[in-house]
C-alpha cells in the first residue's frame, strides 16, 4: 500500500510545492509540504518521511543542502531528493556528497519522477518486509522473552510450558547471566499462576538476619528497628511464584527454615507466634553446583532434594553460540526504543566478533555489550568497531598478577578493581564478567574501598 508511505515536499515556491504534492497524491501517497528548510526540519522532527523532495535554493538562511544535512542528522538513512531549477555540476556534486539520494532538475519528466519514487518505495517496502520477517523469526524462538533455537534450550522451554501449572518446586542451575530468572518467569507466566505475583529475591544480596525477615516478614518489635509488622516475600508471593536466586548462598539456619516452609507450606513471621499459611510455588536458582555443595557438606541434602523436584540446567552461552545472532537482534529491538536509537541490525563483521568471544558473563554480558555498542553506534547497523571494548581471552589490556603470599581477599580486591577499570566503571558489566550479582559487587567495592574509575 502506497498510503503507508509519507512524502515531504519542501519548496519556498508554493506553486512548485503544491503541484508536486498534488501529483504525488494522485499516485496514492500521503504528502506533506513545507515552505522553508526550517519548517521541513520541524516536520522531520516529529515524523520520518519515506522520501524528502527538497528544493536547492531557498531563502531564510537555510538552503536545500543545509536542510538535507539537518534532516539527515535526525534520520541518517533518509531518502532525500534535491530538486533545482539551476543545475550546475558543483551543486550536484555537493548534494550527492552530502548524502542526497538523487538530484533532479525541474521541470522534470513525469516518467523520471515516477520511476525514482517507485524505486525508493520498493526498497523501503523490502526493508520493512525484512524487519517484519526478522521479528517473526525472533518470536518463533521466543517464549516469554527467553530467546533460543538451541535444542537444549528448546527442551527447557518445552519443559517450562509443561510444568507451568504444577506446584512442584523447580531448581534452575546455570552459570551467572544464563537467564535463570527469565526461565523462572517463563514458567510462572505460562501457567495458572500467571495472574498471581512473581516475587524474586536474591539470597546472596542480604545478610542472614535480613534475609530471614525479608522472606518471612516480622512482627512489630521483633528486633531493633522493627517498628511495625512487615509481610515477607512468601506472603507477598501468595497465589503466585517465589523465585529464590542464589539459593546456594543461604546460611545453614535459613536452609532449615526454608525446608520447613517447603514441607508444611506455612511459617512464622520473625518474632511472631501465629502460623501463616501460603500457597506459593518456589523456583530456586543457583550458579554453583548444588550437588557438589551437598557433597561438600555446605548444603543440606534434604533441602536439595526438596528443591530439586524438577531440575533445569541452562547451558552457558558459549555452548549455544547459534543463539547469538538471534539474541543480538532481540536486544536491538528491545533496547532501541529505550535508548532512543533506530538501530536496524548488525554487520557480518560485528557478528563474527560476537561469535568468537567466549562470553564468561553469558547472555547478561551479551546484552550489556549490545547496549554499550548501541550507545556509541553512529549508524543504523552495529559494526565490529562498536564492539572494540570486547577483549578476547588472553588479550587483556591490563594483566593482573597475583604474587605468592597474597591473601584471597587481596586477590579479590585487585581483580575487581581491574575489571572495573576494563569496563570503564560499569557495575552491571563488571558484575556480569566476574560472574557475581550487582549487589555482591557493590558490597565488595564498599568492603575493599575500591575507587571507581
Amino acid at each position: 500500500m502506497k498510503s503507508h508511505w509519507q512524502i515531504l515536499v519542501v519548496d519556498d515556491e508554493e506553486v512548485m510545492c503544491e503541484s508536486l504534492a498534488a501529483w504525488l497524491r494522485e499516485d496514492g501517497y500521503l504528502v506533506d509540504t513545507a515552505a522553508s528548510g526550517r519548517g521541513a526540519v520541524e516536520k522531520a522532527r516529529s515524523r520520518d518521511y519515506a522520501i524528502y523532495f527538497v528544493d536547492l535554493k531557498m531563502p531564510g538562511g537555510m538552503d536545500g543542502i543545509e536542510t538535507m544535512m539537518q534532516i539527515r542528522r535526525l534520520h541518517p538513512d533518509a531518502s532525500i531528493i534535491i530538486i533545482t531549477a539551476y543545475a550546475t555540476v558543483d551543486t550536484a556534486i555537493t548534494a550527492m556528497k552530502e548524502g542526497a539520494q538523487e538530484y533532479i532538475v525541474k521541470p522534470c519528466n513525469p516518467e523520471e519522477i515516477s520511476l525514482l519514487v517507485s524505486r525508493i518505495i520498493k526498497v523501503k517496502n523490502l526493508q520493512r518486509e525484512n524487519s517484519i520477517l526478522r521479528k517473526k523469526l525472533t518470536r518463533q524462538y521466543s517464549v516469554h522473552d527467553v530467546v533460543s533455537k538451541n535444542p537444549k534450550m528448546q527442551d527447557i522451554l518445552r519443559l517450562a510450558q509443561e510444568i507451568a501449572s504444577l506446584r512442584s518446586t523447580v531448581l534452575i542451575q546455570g552459570e551467572s547471566g544464563t537467564g535463570k530468572e527469565m526461565v523462572a518467569r517463563a514458567i510462572h507466566f505460562s501457567g495458572d499462576r500467571a495472574q498471581g505475583p512473581f516475587i524474586a529475591v536474591s539470597c546472596a544480596a542480604l545478610a542472614e538476619t535480613l534475609l530471614e525477615s525479608e522472606l518471612f516478614g516480622h512482627e512489630k518489635g521483633a528486633f531493633t528497628g522493627a517498628t511495625g509488622q512487615k509481610r515477607g516475600k512468601f506472603e507477598m508471593a501468595d497465589g503466585g511464584t517465589l523465585f529464590l536466586d542464589e539459593i546456594g548462598d543461604i546460611s545453614a539456619k535459613l536452609q532449615v527454615d526454608l525446608l520447613r516452609v517447603l514441607q508444611d507450606r506455612s511459617f512464622y513471621r520473625v518474632g511472631g507466634s501465629q502460623e501463616v499459611r501460603v500457597d506459593v510455588r518456589v523456583i530456586a536458582a543457583s550458579h554453583v553446583n548444588l550437588q557438589q555443595a551437598v557433597a561438600a557438606g555446605k548444603f543440606r541434602d534434604d533441602l536439595f532434594y526438596r528443591l530439586n523436584v524438577i531440575e533445569v540446567r541452562i547451558p552457558p552461552l558459549r555452548d549455544r553460540r547459534e543463539d547469538i545472532p538471534l539474541l543480538v537482534r532481540h536486544f536491538i529491538e528491545k533496547l532501541s526504543p529505550e535508548l532512543g536509537k533506530e538501530i536496524q541490525g548488525i554487520s557480518e563483521g560485528a557478528l563474527r566478533v560476537l561469535m568468537d568471544y567466549n562470553w564468561p558473563g553469558n547472555v547478561r554480558e551479551l546484552e550489556n555489550a549490545v547496549e554499550r555498542a548501541m550507545v556509541s553506534c553512529r549508524s543504523k547497523n552495529l559494526a565490529d568497531t562498536d564492539f572494540s571494548f570486547l577483549v578476547p581471552d588472553g588479550d587483556s589490556p591490563r594483566r593482573v598478577s597475583f604474587p605468592a603470599g597474597m591473601s584471597l581477599a587481596e586477590m579479590e580486591k585487585v581483580l575487581i578493581a581491574a575489571t572495573l577499570e576494563r569496563t570503564g566503571g560499569n557495575i552491571k558489566e563488571s558484575a556480569s564478567v566476574l560472574g557475581i550479582d550487582r549487589s555482591t559487587i557493590y558490597e565488595k567495592i564498599r568492603k575493599y574501598e575500591i575507587p571507581r574509575p
Partner: protein
C-alpha cells in the same frame, strides 16, 4: 438533477470531443452536458510555451455550473504543472474539476503517421483517468486499468479504456453526489 459537464476550448477536435463525452457518460452512468469554453490564453507561459493546468482548473471552478457534479475540460493545448515538463491531464483529487490535453495524444506529435483510432482511444482513456481522480481514485497498480499511471503514450496504450474490478468497486462505493 446533477450533470457531468464536458467543456471544450474552441480549437478542440469535435469528433474527439463527442467520443470523450459518450464514453464518459457510459462509464460513469451519468448524464453528460456539453459546454463551450473560451480560449485559455490566460494560462499561457511564454517561457515554456505551454499552458498551466492549475490555472485552467481554477478557471473551471469559477465558471462551473451549479448543477455540475463534475466538470471535465478538453483542450488541444499542451499542459504543464510547474515541476513537470508536461502533463496529459490534471484533476482535483476528490474535487470537481479536471482537464485533459489532446496535444500529445496524436501519433503525429511523435513524428509518426496519423492514426485516428489510436488517438481517440487515448483521448477517452485520459478522460476516464482524470474524471476518476475527481471521484477520489488514485493511481492503480494494475497497468491495464484506466487509473494506472501513464507518463508516456506507450503506457496509455497499454491500458484498457475501463476501470479494473477494484477501481470500479471503489467508484460504486462512492457517496451519491
Amino acid at each position: 438533477m446533477k450533470y457531468l459537464y464536458v467543456g471544450a476550448t474552441p480549437e478542440v477536435d469535435r469528433e474527439a470531443l463527442t467520443a470523450v463525452r459518450d464514453r464518459v457518460a457510459a462509464e460513469f452512468g451519468v448524464t453528460v452536458r456539453e459546454m463551450a469554453l473560451s480560449e485559455i490564453g490566460f494560462a499561457f507561459d511564454p517561457a515554456r510555451r505551454q499552458y498551466g493546468s492549475t490555472a485552467v482548473l481554477e478557471m473551471l471552478m469559477r465558471v462551473c455550473p451549479a448543477d455540475a457534479v463534475k466538470f471535465l475540460a478538453v483542450t488541444e493545448h499542451d499542459l504543464f504543472i510547474p515541476v513537470l515538463t508536461f502533463v496529459y491531464g490534471h484533476a482535483q483529487l476528490g474535487g470537481k474539476a479536471a482537464v485533459i490535453s489532446l496535444a500529445r495524444l496524436r501519433q503525429e506529435f511523435y513524428g509518426l503517421p496519423p492514426n485516428r483510432e489510436v488517438f481517440l482511444e487515448r483521448a477517452y482513456k485520459e478522460a476516464l483517468h482524470e474524471v476518476g481522480h475527481t471521484f477520489g481514485l488514485v493511481h492503480c497498480a494494475d497497468r491495464s486499468c484506466a487509473m494506472a499511471l501513464g507518463t508516456n503514450v506507450r503506457q496509455i496504450d497499454g491500458k484498457q479504456a475501463a476501470f479494473c474490478a477494484s477501481c470500479a468497486a471503489a467508484l460504486r462505493r462512492r457517496p451519491r453526489e
